[in-house]
Symmetry: C2
DNA sequence: ACCTGAACACCGTTCAAGT
DNA sequence: ACCTGAACACCGTTCAAGT
């Protein structure tokens, strides 16, 4: 699968039957879906909207993908392609893992609708996703992590990154208890003391630092 | 809000106009929605199915809730009510936090459809959710955590628990690279070495141990 | 093989009409 | 105030008909 070309917006076809050369490709559909998701958010990605952007009838899409879920899987692989794994083999594993986690969270912050898809979609037939896991896994193995722990480390960091990506979608007042404040003094105190700014990022960085420190300990003193 | 009563399945009403006493209550709708979600999964919760279970026309629901999102919010508060916060004030904070995280993950493992809802829904008018955060926040404050860090600690643990809850929904073969195995030797090695059994739980426990160890360090040596 | 256009079974939600 | 039943604007998906 080559680089995903930018989606054009061709004029609607007027002919009735089979076109002389195919109008749609899987890569084109994927690119249009990514663009739609980025421009219009998760509810903006409908098969009808996708077809319109591609200048085609909705039913035409089903000559190239079996279901909408197929489209989401392809989009997810395109998103994973953009995640930075370049630190592995070049930097100490803690730094490579931290950079991967940050990039992972940022990618899914832009595509929160894909978080449940990512958690559940098999990697086979998702080449960029497999390539990502290969870099991470072999990086951890080379750094001295025992093979039987590597996937659990990857999944733990991934779960944290995906949960943190969802957290970026929270409204600023998510923890405002409203009328219930009098019944929650400790909660209210803690919220008032939380520094303003990018709170989601602050929570992510705190958790990431703790997680990495704990993993470092674990690797040093195996149980 | 009292305990949510088990949802009965009343015979459909036959009369045409306003009933002599209301047939629906918000609590009843919530309980039926929880049951539906548990029995039929996330796609099983439709306004039509909810109405049928309550012996009512779909449009009748809109006298009690404004949108389906309202129903999900109420369900989420009911789910949060079942999360165990009992350790705070009784056990060392690390143990209380660990028990909370485990219970949190388990609750959302049963309701993965609510994970994106939980990450984004304001707590006001969700009394059990506020009560949960109050126990956790005041527990951490009493244990000596600086107020400005408490909410970030809570959010970090929560993000990890929610991400891990999603991970429980992954199929067993999610990491099977299929045809792509030759291009991913390290990934394949790591997967082969991963112990069989409840792999999602193993990853969660590894990450939780690391996260808590890191938080312990952080509390001891503040930056 | 790969498109169009009509059709299907759903979805959440609105609203007039009934009591 | 709180229900019914009809209706609306959508949704993903199927399929015969065209070239």
């Amino acid at each position: 699968m080559g680089p995903v070309p930018a989606a054009a917006s061709p004029a609607p076809r007027r002919g009735r039957g089979r076109p002389s050369s195919p109008v749609l490709t899987t890569d084109g559909i994927t690119a249009a879906a990514v663009a739609l998701l980025e421009e219009r958010g998760q509810d903006g990605l409908t098969m009808a909207a996708l077809a319109r952007r591609l200048g085609v009838a909705p039913s035409a899409l089903y000559n190239h993908v079996a279901t909408k879920q197929d489209v989401l899987r392809a989009v997810q692989d395109a998103v994973n392609r953009g995640i930075d794994c370049s630190g592995f083999g070049r930097l100490p594993w803690e730094e490579a893992l931290a950079a991967w986690a940050r990039s992972y969270r940022d990618a899914y912050e832009r595509h929160p609708a894909l978080v449940p898809v990512m958690a559940v979609t098999p990697v086979r037939s998702a080449p960029h996703t497999v390539a990502m896991y290969e870099r991470v896994s072999s990086g951890l193995l080379s750094a001295g992590w025992p093979a039987h722990l590597v996937t659990n480390v990857v999944v733990a960091v991934e779960s944290f990154a995906l949960g943190s990506a969802l957290d970026t979608q929270a409204p600023a007042d998510i923890f405002d208890p409203g009328d219930l404040a009098p019944s929650a003094p400790g909660f209210t105190t803690a919220n008032a003391a939380r520094p303003a700014g990018d709170t989601a990022r602050a929570a992510f960085e705190l958790g990431l630092a703790a997680l990495l420190a704990g993993l470092r300990d674990l690797l040093r003193s195996p149980s």
